[in-house]
């Protein structure tokens, strides 16, 4: 096994989790050899600064080089749909086809939709619920999330309604992106 200082981490951000992969150092993370573990999809990576800032992942895993710091910011955002290969860091499109992803530590697939809404880690006891109950639980959070988003957007629009149209759009963009 290669020593730790000869290894490099990379991450693959998918719709349901952030996977930490281990590669040989010379590859710069482009050729992952194994899956080290998974982080909740909502994990904020960073903040990082500079082109070569470092982020520690999963304790003992070697630090990740932040060549694509923009990816770190987006990784914490649940609302953005990430499209696999184009959104991965380090390993690029190879990550999604990596055999390690087949054995992703996500537990029972029945919980995948719940995990997608609630993030990780989830209580293992949820396995005791029926499929209908899990579906309802997932829907309850999705409804709450949607209603809150609508209410927050409405509050911002309400605040900006006094500004003339071009300005209100700009201010909105500046304030909440």
């Amino acid at each position: 096994m290669a020593s730790r200082d000869k290894l490099r981490s990379s991450v693959a951000v998918t719709e349901d989790a952030i996977y930490v992969l281990e590669s040989s150092k010379p590859s710069g993370g482009a050729k992952p050899k194994s899956l080290v573990g998974a982080l909740p999809r909502h994990t904020q990576l960073g903040p990082v600064s500079g082109r070569w800032g470092q982020v520690n992942l999963l304790g003992e895993v070697p630090p990740l080089l932040s060549r694509r710091a923009g990816v770190f910011a987006s990784a914490g955002s649940r609302s953005r749909t990430l499209g696999g290969a184009r959104e991965t860091s380090g390993c690029g499109s190879r990550a999604c086809g990596h055999p390690g992803l087949e054995s992703r530590p996500m537990g029972d697939d029945r919980l995948a939709p719940v995990r997608d809404q609630f993030g990780d880690p989830l209580p293992a006891a949820l396995h005791a619920l029926s499929d209908d109950e899990l579906t309802d639980l997932t829907a309850a959070l999705a409804e709450a999330d949607r209603e809150q988003s609508i209410a927050l957007d409405a509050a911002i629009d309400h605040t900006l309604r006094f500004l003339p149209w071009p300005l209100s759009s700009i201010v909105r963009k500046v304030l909440v992106g």
């Binding site: 649940r78 609302s79 609630f118 209580p123 949820l126 109950e133 309850a140 999330d145 911002i156």
Partner: protein, 319 residues
């Protein structure tokens, strides 16, 4: 279903803005699991708050009075609750002092207290008292319970002054920080505790009162039970009825161990406790829960007829 589990489901339902009945199936899970799920839901719902960082920054530009006006009349409580945790503490307190208690009550319902802990600690007790009064008027017990672990003693005492005895019990059911509850109960004057005990009977809140006994230290629970034992039979009958109806003898029995000898004698002599069906349930709960060591000293203080029922129900154990 446990009392704690029911409270956890109610808290999750409140967070999701849905009816507790919809999530009743979660009561099959352990309370800790429902709580863990609620933690995840909180993270998921509040995950994007950082996007309001610039709103928080922008709020520093206008004078505080103008910002407070904008917050109340334009932003609204939900947006303010999301921005609050991102504000500088001094600025947030300055703004809060300029807002109406009614608006702060709206905001408190939407706020995750853990994200604004320093601000809550820094708020003047009188202001917290005003908000507590408004939340009590609205019967927002779940929201208030979430704040208990994030308040100074002075703020808690200011809140106690405006919350009636029955509401205190209702709030205790939803207190988030279990380890804080013992300390909080210790801040209550004895006459308030007596008032809460009477309210338990008058407002049918013994389930909440018995739940409280499981969430404080054994010594505190014993002291509370001693105070209850000083009440008249009518009050204690309410407790017996609730324990019998809801199967809560496994909660009551351990508490008797920490009562004074006088308090335990008073409880053991309570006529309502000597009804055959109550004694049977008491013994069954003791046997099932491994609580015979708690039952025996109590049974020894009961009248001969009651002792006979106990012996008949658990002959091998009582002897």
């Amino acid at each position: 279903m446990t009392l704690e589990g029911h409270a956890e489901v109610m808290k999750l339902a409140r967070l999701l803005g849905t009816a507790p009945e919809r999530l009743a199936y979660l009561e099959r899970l352990a309370p800790a699991d429902v709580r863990a799920l609620r933690e995840r839901a909180t993270v998921a719902l509040f995950d994007n708050d950082r996007r309001f960082g610039r709103v928080a920054l922008a709020s520093r530009i206008p004078p505080a009075a103008l910002t407070a006006w904008i917050a109340q009349h334009l932003f609204g409580a939900l947006l303010c609750a999301r921005v609050a945790g991102l504000l500088d503490t001094r600025r947030a307190v300055d703004l809060a002092e300029r807002m109406a208690p009614e608006f702060l009550a709206d905001l408190a319902v939407q706020l995750d207290p853990r994200r604004a802990r320093e601000i809550i600690f820094a708020l003047p007790p009188a202001l917290i008292g005003g908000v507590a009064a408004e939340l009590t008027r609205r019967e927002e017990y779940i929201a208030m319970g979430r704040f208990v672990g994030h308040m100074t003693d002075a703020a808690l005492e200011a809140a106690f002054e405006v919350i009636d005895d029955a509401s205190l019990l209702r709030i205790s059911y939803f207190v988030e920080e279990k380890d804080q509850l013992d300390h909080v109960v210790g801040l209550l004057a004895t006459d308030r505790v007596r008032g809460a005990i009477r309210a338990a009977t008058d407002a049918d809140l013994w389930p909440q009162a018995l739940d409280l006994l499981t969430r404080v230290s054994p010594q505190r629970a014993g002291a509370l039970a001693d105070l209850a034992a000083e009440e008249d039979d009518r009050v204690l009958d309410g407790m017996v009825r609730t324990a019998q109806r809801d199967g809560l003898w496994d909660v009551v029995l351990p508490v008797t161990q920490n009562m004074t000898a006088e308090g335990r004698r008073r409880f053991a002599r309570l006529p309502a406790l000597h009804a055959p069906d109550v004694l049977v349930a008491l013994v069954d709960a003791a046997v099932a829960g491994g609580l015979l060591a708690d039952l025996l000293p109590l049974a020894a203080l009961m009248p001969a007829g009651a002792q006979r029922v106990v012996r008949e129900r658990a002959p091998g154990d009582v002897g």
